[in-house]
């Protein structure tokens, strides 16, 4: 029975570990005896809670605990994977998972390269990013109080017909043991608060979303002026009620920090993921070392930025995380990779493996991705020589076709720029383009780069990410 045998905190051994190390070591040894070249067990225990307020009333509060474990076996150059919520049954799955990997390998043609893993340091240690205020000790009333502060400032107008506020926090504990002797434990927390504000004026209905969050405990929420966050959302919602539809066409575009972050995540970050490159599904295939953007563009992905929503100390293959410099002065310098793709391309592993939870295997993923700052002092300098363009702010999300290199992202609100000045508010602005063109068209960046609002990235699995940068000008973008 899958779910009946999973231990909870109360049943954890006195070592503080969920995995029984001697049994897992025996299982990993067995996998090797059966022909596995590599075997790995990764467990993730997530203690989380979510709270929602609708119009200042508690709508729902859900505390929970999930424990999942994934066994990954490489045999004859192919992967077999088993995932379960039943920790105790895991050793009994070794044989069938080795068989599965071998069955995949048997179907490979002679021209297919067998999967091999880049060598990495084998470490046995524990790293715990301790929050200043552990969210697991935060009571429900405290969460409700913060949500009410956000709600009250967001709802303070007759045209605001609904405000839904949400809270989520999670403590993530991961254990990884491998046949190479890797034996690591790490933990950290994330906290997030958000509001969705709906305004109505006659038949005109608009909505605006705002978020604040990051790696850490209750202190992440306490650092935010929630009254200000709610007020900004309210003002933006009211402005959208009066906004006009955006013009369509190729126009100069200035993007705020939020939108710059989503742009670089979609347009560049995804095509830089080495598993997509290896699969023949990236427009950046073969372009390492080549100039692909304006030389003012430098982009990093950095999971070590503490407080960023995509921060994590160790990747889901057990490697210490580090900054990846994806573009340096317009030149593509690095792919995001995991051990398999690092070996495939003959590159240094850079700890880009992330899994959604203990029930998913790791993929190459982004963490905190941002464009570094430029030389302009402020938005006024970016705007001063634009006769007719758009300033777009806040993100409603985006999407990319990594193979074709085309992307789309949508703004929450925007302004028309006329003769170097912001004039009328706009709504429903989206921007699309081609990665390899638009990177060349970035022609202005302010100095003040930093992470913007937290986000989530979907690639079959959903992981939290941070994006950001400075305020950015694109000389010509397709605005819809």
């Amino acid at each position: 029975m899958v779910m009946s045998a999973s231990p909870t905190d109360e049943h954890r051994p006195s070592t503080g570990r969920y995995l029984d190390q001697s049994k897992i070591q025996a299982a990993l040894d067995q996998a090797q005896e059966l022909g596995a070249s590599y075997a790995e067990v990764r467990l993730m225990a997530i203690t989380d809670s979510s709270v929602a307020l609708r119009d200042a009333k508690l709508e729902r509060a859900i505390p929970g605990q999930e424990v999942g474990v994934t066994l990954r076996i490489l045999a004859d150059g192919a992967w077999g994977v088993h995932s379960t919520t039943d920790l105790i049954s895991l050793p009994s799955q070794i044989e069938s998972t080795v068989r599965l990997a071998k069955a995949v390998a048997a179907r490979r043609s002679s021209k297919d390269k067998p999967v091999q893993l880049a060598e990495v340091p084998i470490l046995e240690d524990e790293i715990h990013w301790k929050p200043k205020k552990d969210v697991r000790n935060t009571d429900l009333q405290t969460k409700i109080d913060h949500l009410k502060t956000l709600h009250d400032s967001a709802a303070d107008d007759d045209s605001i017909i609904s405000v839904t506020c949400g809270w989520s926090d999670e403590h993530l504990h991961t254990e990884l043991m491998s046949s190479e002797g890797m034996n690591r434990v790490w933990s950290f927390q994330r906290s997030l608060i958000n509001a969705s504000v709906t305004g109505r004026d006659g038949d005109e209905v608009v909505s605006y979303r705002t978020r604040h969050g990051g790696e850490g405990g209750l202190e992440v929420i306490e650092q935010c002026d929630l009254g200000q966050l709610g007020e900004s959302a309210r003002i933006a919602t009211l402005r959208l009620l009066k906004a006009e539809r955006a013009p369509s066409g190729k126009l100069p575009l200035i993007a705020d920090r939020d939108l710059t972050g989503v742009y670089i995540h979609e347009a560049l970050g995804h095509p830089c993921e080495a598993d997509l490159v290896a699969a023949g599904d990236s427009c950046l295939d073969g372009k390492l070392g080549q100039s692909i953007g304006n030389d003012i563009v430098t982009v990093v992905d950095d999971p070590t930025i503490r407080g960023g929503y995509g921060a994590h100390p160790i990747d889901d293959e057990g490697l210490d995380t580090r900054e990846k410099k994806l573009i340096q002065n317009g030149v593509l310098t690095e792919y995001l990779n995991h051990r398999e793709t690092a070996h495939h391309f003959g590159l240094e592993p850079n700890a880009g493996a992330r899994a959604q939870d203990g029930l998913h295997h790791p993929l190459v993923r982004m963490s905190n991705t941002l464009i570094q700052g430029g030389t302009h002092n402020d938005i006024d300098e970016l705007m001063e020589d634009i006769q007719y363009g758009v300033y777009a702010c806040g993100s409603r999300g985006g999407q990319v076709d990594t193979g074709r290199g085309s992307f789309q992202f949508a703004a929450q609100e925007a302004w028309l720029i006329e003769n170097g000045e912001l004039t009328r508010p706009l709504k429903d602005v989206s921007v699309s383009g081609l990665t390899l063109q638009i990177l060349k068209d970035v022609d202005g960046l302010t100095r003040d780069a930093r992470l913007a609002a937290p986000g989530f990235c979907g690639k079959g699995q959903t992981v939290p990410v941070g994006d950001g940068g400075p305020t950015m000008r694109i000389s010509q973008a397709l605005v819809g």
Binding site: V2, M3, A5, P7, T8, E10, H11, L58, R60, I62, P63, G64, Q65, T70, W79, G80, V81, H82, S83, T84, T85, L100, A103, V104, R107, S109, D112, L140, I144, I161, S162, T198, E204, V205, V206, S207, A246, S248, G249, A279, G280, D281, C283, L359, G398, Q399, V400, D401, G403, R404, S406, Q408, F409, A410, D428, S430, S432, L434, L478, G480
Partner: protein
């Protein structure tokens, strides 16, 4: 794949937790359990990259006391006492909703076609063979074509719901799905198309979607020049291109709570024309083989087939028990009750309101794609869009991008367009001149349920901005 006693064991787990609730003198309680098993194959770069299997599950506990509810979930039944206490503590600080009671037992007839025993016997090796067949088929259709991503999988899920109000229901459903991203990278041009199919029944070894993916990767090659600025134009959206936008915007607009809270673009329009006057929306929670169909909804209420929009006129809405009680208690509507539309995201969440198998149909004769093109004359065929999730469900406004579209002039396809922006308001476009194709296909959803949609020709209300 599924242990013989899977249903019995989760049902027994529900009973045990229910007993604990009784011992704790909880006024009303409801226990749900899910237990899923499956196998899957990932495909990358034209080969099988990984084979996986496994299972997961857990229990959810909803307690209701004096109109206040609390919820908690767990994996290990040994921690049920703690979870019950957590749920009870939450209920104490939740607002009391007058008249909110858990639903009582009502007879619910089985829905056919939700379980295919043939799926239960599919082994990982069977799936590997199916993957091989798909890869071979793609190569045989076009030797340049490669499956660059996607995969296939089978699953079986046991579910149970037990409550203090006498509901005791359990069952098993199966699923079989495939999705393939086919790319053609030749002559300095890369085109691709993602297509998928899924069913509660075993799929054929090589489903039609594989050939469709190859076809779209082929016919979007060699883009033509379109020398026009952004302009309003008729657009024929294939079922695959239309459903992401439709599912983002329409299911939330017909939720009862959003309608009465003025959060829907159809708020205040009960009885009025909201769609073209030949169009109807039907949510069939009892559709045979429906991917979201079941005998009971997410809180045990018998499901039904209901017409929400009839010949363009809004006549219904979706309700779950608590949403209905809350909106009545808060005075937004005089009378409302559950109509079997509670949906859940598994054991980890309490029920909310949503559709099951949502269909859009026309009282007019549906047309072949050729007939729709003839009617459209000049415009575009859009087969997929990027950024549908950025559409605004509150207003119906959207602005997306497509790289899988064809230019049509005089009813004839001229050729593919490299990329274009597509914008408009879906609610307004659907209320104008709309024609439906005759080939309904089942699509997934950005919100709840599944969408049963044909190709849709929208004659007005859309704007295309070609690159």
């Amino acid at each position: 794949m599924l242990p013989d006693d899977a249903v019995d064991r989760i049902a027994e787990g529900c009973r045990q937790i229910g007993k604990l609730c009784q011992n704790n003198e909880i006024q009303q309680w409801e226990i749900v359990a899910t237990q899923s098993y499956g196998h899957s194959i990932d495909i990358e770069a034209g080969k099988i990259s990984l084979a996986a299997g496994g299972g997961e599950g857990g229990y959810g506990i909803r307690v209701v006391e004096d109109g206040r509810f609390g919820y908690a979930y767990l994996v290990d039944i040994g921690s049920a006492d703690n979870a019950i206490q957590q749920a009870r503590d939450i209920a104490k600080v939740s607002p009391s909703v007058a008249g909110f009671l858990l639903p009582s037992e009502q007879k619910a007839d089985k829905v056919a076609g939700l379980l295919d025993k043939n799926i239960l016997s599919i082994s990982p090796e069977d799936l590997l063979e199916q993957a091989d067949a798909i890869l071979s088929e793609v190569s045989s259709l076009d030797e340049r074509a490669v499956v660059t991503g996607g995969g296939l999988g089978v699953g079986a899920s046991a579910g149970a719901i037990y409550s203090s109000e006498g509901i005791e229901s359990s069952g098993v459903t199966t699923s079989h799905g495939i999705g393939v991203q086919v790319s053609i990278d030749a002559d300095d041009e890369l085109t691709s198309s993602f297509e998928g199919d899924s069913s509660r029944q075993r799929l054929t070894n090589v489903p039609d979607c594989v050939a469709v993916a190859v076809d779209w990767a082929q016919k979007t090659r060699g883009p033509i020049e379109v020398n026009t600025d952004a302009h309003d134009t008729p657009v024929l959206m294939t079922s695959e291109g239309f459903s992401p936008l439709f599912s983002m915007v329409v299911p939330s607009a017909i939720r009862g709570d959003r309608l009465v809270r003025n959060e829907s673009f159809w708020s205040g329009k009960q009885g009025e024309l909201v769609l073209a006057n030949d169009l109807s929306l039907i949510d069939d929670g009892r559709l045979e083989g429906g991917k979201s169909a079941s005998s009971r909804d997410g809180e045990g209420v018998p499901t039904r087939c209901q017409t929400l929009v009839e010949n363009g006129r809004l006549i219904g809405s979706l309700w779950s028990t608590r949403d209905a009680a809350q909106q009545v208690a808060e005075g937004r509507i005089e009378q409302a009750e559950s109509n079997g539309c509670a949906v859940r995201g598994g054991h980890q969440s309490p029920p909310s309101t949503g559709c099951a198998d949502l269909q859009m149909v026309s009282s007019q004769k549906s047309s072949s794609q050729d007939a729709l093109l003839e009617r459209m004359q000049d415009g575009y065929i859009v087969h997929s869009v990027m950024g549908a999730h950025t559409a605004n469900p509150t207003s119906g406004d959207f602005s997306v991008t497509s790289s899988t579209l064809l230019r049509v002039e005089g009813g004839e396809i001229l050729g593919p367009v490299k990329q274009a922006g597509l914008s408009g308001n879906l609610a307004k476009a659907l209320s104008q001149e709309v024609y439906l194709g005759n080939d309904v296909r089942v699509q997934g959803s950005y919100s709840s349920g599944n969408m049963h949609l044909p190709d849709v020709l929208l004659m007005q209300g859309l704007r295309i901005n070609p690159v």
